[in-house]
């Protein structure tokens, strides 16, 4: 990463300017409804966390350089300028108090896709040297070690051995021509080793041909979170190279919403090419297996379960019914949160917030919205399908002394598989 300067930052913002951005800024009438859609505003009540306000640097640059009236104002010395001091002031607004959950984009009456513009503005923040240390460190680790948490293959190898011992099954490594290349997230490997065990069991049960790749196991993309197209492209290219080398037809993103949007939607644009393979979230794959009758399950969880939709998976990727069909397989007493699916509330820790130590307090504040939602339906356990959401839910519930365990949907499915001999 070369020198970061204001001019580089502005240039990065100019590269992000497009017709939607111009249409959005032309339309905002400062109604403030987006504030009511944002957990960071709703739970702090501080107007500076109003989503559209977080975009002032981008808006000022747009007005100054992309509108006739703004250019005239500039010529006669009127109008604001984007300065280093301004960007420094906006850094916490664009990172600490925004998980890019996209709820504001769904609520804005004039149709502004605010989240889309936050993502763009972060490009300028990185290039001008105004991004949080925690995210910079994660990006550097991801580039250098392949994992944003600095996790190495040997750590995963130990886990693979544990899984193989526990299940008596083989975890396939570097299998050329497998149908699915399975990616993981470091957070998952460290916090939720049960995931790898679960898919090992499920894929054996359903007869799915799959593999891990020693060249690339990490699905997350720190470049997408911090807002650096260069870092994002480098990391995505590793996935593409691994998939191409093994000749797989499909790549599976793990229980991580961010990883899914990063690979599924941003990845091809980061490398400016379409993929020679398809990308699925594990939940989509499981739902396909269910539809094909390849998941034979027995018994149901009978305690009161509710579900947290990861923003990246539901609102930002349209995977909403899949997890509910899977819940139907294994849950006998499931109740949805009041606002769920595309209108769900963020847990507060996505979009890089979880890697940004400075945001710790805001992260817990934003969680209070989720907490209120959970309290409304009083579940005995929460189910989700994203390691970051799950960690945030666990930490938040713990913080507020709520005794509600959080489980991953994939492992819940694995727990209900009937033995293969009985399945015939």
């Amino acid at each position: 990463m070369s020198e970061f300067t204001l001019e580089r930052g502005l240039q990065a913002l100019r590269e992000e300017m497009d017709a939607p951005v111009a249409a959005f800024f032309s339309s905002c009438v400062h109604c403030g409804l987006c504030a009511q859609a944002c957990p960071f505003f709703v739970e702090t009540g501080d107007p500076k966390y109003t989503p559209i306000h977080k975009l002032e640097p981008l808006r000022i640059l747009w007005e100054n350089e992309y509108t006739l009236f703004g250019r005239i104002k500039g010529l006669i010395g009127l109008g604001e300028r984007v300065t280093d001091a301004m960007l420094e002031q906006w850094e916490p607004l664009l990172y600490d108090s925004c998980s890019m959950c996209g709820r504001c984009s769904l609520v804005c009456p004039v149709g502004n896709d605010i989240q889309y513009m936050i993502r763009k503005t972060r490009e300028g923040m990185v290039a001008s040297g105004h991004s949080p240390e925690g995210l910079i460190a994660a990006s550097v680790r991801a580039i250098n070690t392949g994992s944003p948490m600095g996790l190495q293959w040997k750590t995963l190898e130990v886990q693979i051995r544990h899984v193989e011992t526990a299940t008596g099954l083989k975890v396939p490594l570097d299998q050329s021509g497998a149908d699915y290349l399975v990616l993981l997230s470091s957070m998952e490997i460290i916090n939720f080793p049960e995931y790898l065990e679960a898919i090992t069991k499920i894929f054996d049960h359903a007869g799915v041909s799959w593999t891990l790749s020693q060249d690339c196991f990490e699905a997350t993309n720190a470049g997408v979170q911090i807002g650096s197209k260069d870092v994002a492209a480098t990391l995505v290219q590793r996935v593409v190279d691994a998939a191409v080398k093994l000749g797989v037809k499909n790549v599976i993103s793990p229980e991580c919403g961010h990883a899914y949007t990063a690979i599924r939607w941003e990845g091809p644009n980061a490398i400016q090419r379409s993929y020679p393979f398809k990308v699925f979230h594990i939940i989509e794959v499981l739902d396909q297996l269910r539809a094909e009758g390849r998941l034979k399950t027995g018994g149901k969880e009978m305690d009161r379960l509710s579900m947290h939709d990861p923003c990246n998976l539901a609102r930002k990727s349209g995977v909403i019914d899949e997890q509910r069909r899977l819940m139907d397989l294994v849950a006998g007493n499931f109740v949805d949160l009041k606002e769920h699916g595309k209108f769900q509330w963020c847990c507060g820790a996505g979009g890089g917030v979880s890697s940004n130590e400075r945001a710790e307090e805001l992260k817990m504040a934003a969680f209070k919205r989720k907490k209120a939602q959970i309290e409304e339906v009083e579940p005995e356990r929460m189910v989700t399908m994203c390691a970051t959401c799950r960690t945030q839910l666990e930490e938040g519930l713990e913080e507020f002394n709520m005794d509600i365990p959080v489980v991953g949907l994939t492992e819940m499915i694995a727990d209900h598989l009937v033995p293969k001999t009985d399945a015939r």
Binding site: F41, T50, G318
Partner: protein, 220 residues
């Protein structure tokens, strides 16, 4: 000093031409500025279409989701009320329908005068309530710039002068009618240079929003 009749004729003649020219040219510039920027090619495999979901979002954003309605009831009711009132009277008040008929040769049924009158009163009340809200509600006050108040004034004046003219509350009539027409011209002139452009660009913004989400399989 010109007399009221001359003033009225001036607002209906040369000034009207100026306002139409500024509005048309200004709006064209704004739209060209937007569309010139284009959109980068999207390499990600689409899950859904763009056109249909985009158009659907253009329509559905007139009505908020239940949660937003619950959390911002005042904004939604007052905002909807005066927008609808403004447009209804603009298009359905008898003299307006006449004017449209004379100018464009198309006509449609108008509202009875007492109905237009009542709608105007509600619209005025709505605009005033909106202003008070803008001055007092923390988020709105924080976001508001001088431009927000300017566009409130240029939106309020045509409704106010129209109401005053209809009820003959200020005389002589040519003076208040001229003032009404002039206030509309002011609105037309200010429109392209301010966020009043949302009258047109909000539909573009909604389409892009719906299309972006739609491509990913979500109806926004």
């Amino acid at each position: 000093m010109i007399n009221p009749m001359e003033f009225l004729l001036w607002t209906k003649g040369p000034m009207f031409d100026v306002a139409v020219a500024v509005l048309a040219l200004g709006l064209m510039v704004r739209l060209v500025e937007i569309f010139m920027l284009g959109r980068a090619h999207n390499y990600a495999e689409a899950r859904g279409g763009q056109l249909g979901p985009g158009l659907k979002t253009v329509v559905t954003r007139f009505v908020p989701d239940p949660g937003t309605f619950q959390r911002s009831t005042f904004d939604v009711i007052v905002g909807t009320l005066w927008h609808v009132g403004f447009i209804a009277v603009l298009l359905l008040f008898i003299p307006h329908v006449e004017l449209i008929k004379q100018t464009f040769g198309v006509a449609w049924p108008a509202l009875p005068n007492p109905v237009s009158d009542a709608i105007t009163a509600v619209t005025l009340a709505g605009l005033i309530a909106g202003l008070v809200h803008r001055l007092t509600q923390p988020v709105k006050r924080f976001l508001s710039t001088p431009q927000d108040y300017l566009i409130w004034v240029v939106t309020f004046l045509p409704v106010l002068t129209g109401y005053l003219a209809y009820h003959r509350l200020i005389g002589p009539y040519p003076l208040i009618l001229g003032a009404h027409i002039l206030s509309v011209e002011l609105l037309m002139i200010v429109l392209p240079f301010t966020k009043l452009t949302h009258i047109f660009t909000a539909f573009i913004a909604r389409w892009y929003n719906g299309a972006t989400f739609g491509r990913k399989g979500v109806q926004s």
